[in-house]
């Protein structure tokens, strides 16, 4: 199987983001960069499928040279190929990313194109679906289970209060949700091998962004409230406060 996994470099989940001086971007000073956590489920799924069916996984990402360490981190899991689409690292418009990715993906003849369900920096959750519509491929998002037999696939995705089961044929686009699999740890061997894999750099058309960030703000700070008391004896007072003061019960 010829599988593409599209990844994004994002700030580590421990990051306490600060707003940059221009008020419109996150300050990148001291930020630790990682492979988007949801993309790891996509990479793992690609690797498991090629281990079972033969073929290879290609990591694809859009960005500047700065993202290459993150591409290497993805390769270190066991992927054998990588493509970096030259571009800026701060694209605010998912459609710009989707169009560029689709342009490159079209040339690859992939049976399956995998993404994480959303990037944990902008939380847009749009690119996988847009790529699918551009390539006119079936698409299942937020997938927690995927089964493929003879070019036919079944995917389970999370919806409120349950799961939807979709069926479709390959080629297809999937966005991965936590629970799809257990991403493997990077072995030292994998990390060493990843250093030797050439990252192919390509160009793609980059449209004008139509999403304009006017400003970033800190969310209203939650003030610490009161410790009502200790142990079960504090409960009646808590209930009274919730009923009379907060009025939520």
């Amino acid at each position: 199987m010829n599988i593409a996994v599209c990844i994004k470099q994002v700030p580590d989940t421990e990051t306490r983001p600060k707003i940059a001086e221009n008020g419109k971007e996150m300050d990148k000073t001291g930020v630790k960069w990682i492979v988007n956590p949801y993309d790891e489920f996509a990479i793992e799924e690609g690797l498991q499928l090629t281990e079972k069916n033969g073929g290879e996984v290609t990591i694809i990402s859009l960005g500047s040279k700065e993202i290459e360490p993150t591409i290497r981190a993805a390769l270190a899991m066991g992927a054998k190929k990588a493509i970096r689409i030259e571009g800026p690292d701060n694209i605010t418009d998912p459609m710009v990313t989707a169009r560029a990715l689709a342009e490159v993906l079209k040339q690859g003849n992939y049976d399956l194109i995998l993404f994480g369900k959303q990037a944990i920096d902008d939380d847009m959750a749009q690119v996988p679906q847009m790529v699918a519509e551009l390539l006119e491929l079936p698409c299942a998002t937020v997938v927690v289970k995927l089964e493929i037999t003879d070019g036919k696939a079944t995917a389970e995705r999370e919806v409120e209060g349950g799961k939807e089961r979709l069926s479709f044929s390959l080629p297809a686009v999937i966005s991965a949700q936590k629970g799809l699999n257990e991403p493997r740890y990077r072995s030292l061997k994998g990390i060493m091998q990843a250093k030797k894999i050439p990252i192919q750099v390509v160009e793609a058309n980059l449209d004008q962004s139509r999403i304009e960030v006017l400003q970033l703000k800190y969310p209203p700070q939650k003030q610490p409230g009161k410790i009502v008391g200790e142990g079960a004896d504090a409960v009646p007072e808590l209930v009274r406060l919730l009923h009379e003061e907060a009025k939520v019960i």
Binding site: E14, I120, D122, E133, C139, R165, R210, I211, V248
Partner: protein, 323 residues
């Protein structure tokens, strides 16, 4: 003139509440920009629901009703929304940011070559422009954005906007659109045991963490949730330990929730967990450790053993409800 289209999500022949919340947001925009709000209902046998849209201010209800739509396909749904929006001349399209809404609307955006603000928590009209506010970095920051495209699309986070009744006479317009061939179809929807209330839709959540010590103690959480009519949630620690299903996980790599009341039981309050629940209206924390970070964001806290506090809390609330 604004022509705001609200896509109604229908499950089991019922309009989801978030569709009314989106309608009220649409009414706000239409009132300020000058214009109208239309509902869009797509499915099989949905025509009789069209008049419901009038309760929250839609003056038109467009209906695409066909037996070919009895089986749901996201790509078909998306193309029909785009076609309908073109036919009615929509300037804005809103939908609830549910699993379905967030899946479908990017596809619509692509077909209309227009920009989408996903999962908005506020909107404001400034100088004739709609400014959309959305959480980023799991809600650690808020981003105010403007969409510079022909049509503006937005998905509206459930439980954030208020659905305000505005009884309006609704003109029902039937659209005959060709139903395209599906690329992917939903074969089955499996509801969780007892059709559990999802954390993203709940008004009250009772959530447990490592301090619960094990899955065998979750009945304490479930009993409290039952008397409150609440959903049950869990921290990443509890999910990774295999105690609870991932669908319950609240936090940066789980769900982001904004209930009226969030009760955190045996949860320390790591930054990643706070990212998922800090926009709750009221937070209660129960934890043995008085230094636990969760107490910094809790409105009310009890320092104590969840094993003792939870049963008492359930009991006291039962008493309150009995009054």
């Amino acid at each position: 003139m604004a022509n705001v289209c609200v896509v109604y999500e229908i499950r089991d022949h019922q309009i989801k509440k978030v569709s009314y919340e989106a309608t009220s947001a649409a009414v706000n925009v239409a009132d300020q920009l000058g214009g109208t709000v239309s509902a869009l209902l797509i499915g099989s046998g949905v025509s009789d629901l069209a008049s419901e849209a009038g309760k929250y201010g839609a003056s038109k209800a467009y209906v695409v009703d066909s037996p070919d739509l009895a089986t749901y396909s996201p790509d078909v749904f998306a193309r029909l929304i785009a076609s309908a929006a073109r036919e009615m001349g929509a300037t804005h399209i809103f939908m609830g940011a549910t699993a379905t809404g967030k899946d479908v609307m990017p596809r619509v955006a692509l077909h209309l070559n227009s920009a989408l603000a996903q999962d908005i928590i506020a909107l404001n009209v400034q100088d004739g422009n709609v400014v959309y506010t959305r959480p980023i970095i799991a809600g650690k920051l808020h981003s105010d954005i403007q969409l510079n495209s022909e049509v503006q699309l937005a998905t509206v986070r459930p439980n954030v906007f208020t659905a305000t009744e505005k009884p309006t006479e609704t003109e029902v317009v039937t659209l005959s659109l060709d139903v395209p061939s599906p690329r992917a179809v939903v074969e089955e929807v499996v509801t969780e045991a007892g059709g559990k209330l999802d954390v993203t839709e709940a008004d009250i959540i009772v959530s447990g963490g490592r301090g619960m010590k094990g899955p065998e103690n979750w009945h304490l959480i479930e009993s409290l949730a039952e008397v409150l009519g609440a959903a049950t949630g869990a921290s990443r620690a509890a999910v990774d330990a295999g105690w609870r299903p991932h669908a319950e996980q609240v936090g940066q790599t789980g769900k982001t929730v904004s209930p009226s009341l969030y009760i955190a039981c045996g949860i320390s309050g790591a930054i990643q967990h706070l990212a998922g629940m800090s926009s709750s209206k009221y937070i209660v924390a129960i934890n043995k450790d008085p230094e636990a970070p969760i107490f910094k964001v809790a409105d009310y806290g009890i320092v104590g053993d969840v094993m003792e506090v939870l049963p008492r809390l359930t009991e006291e609330i039962k008493k309150l409800k009995a009054e």
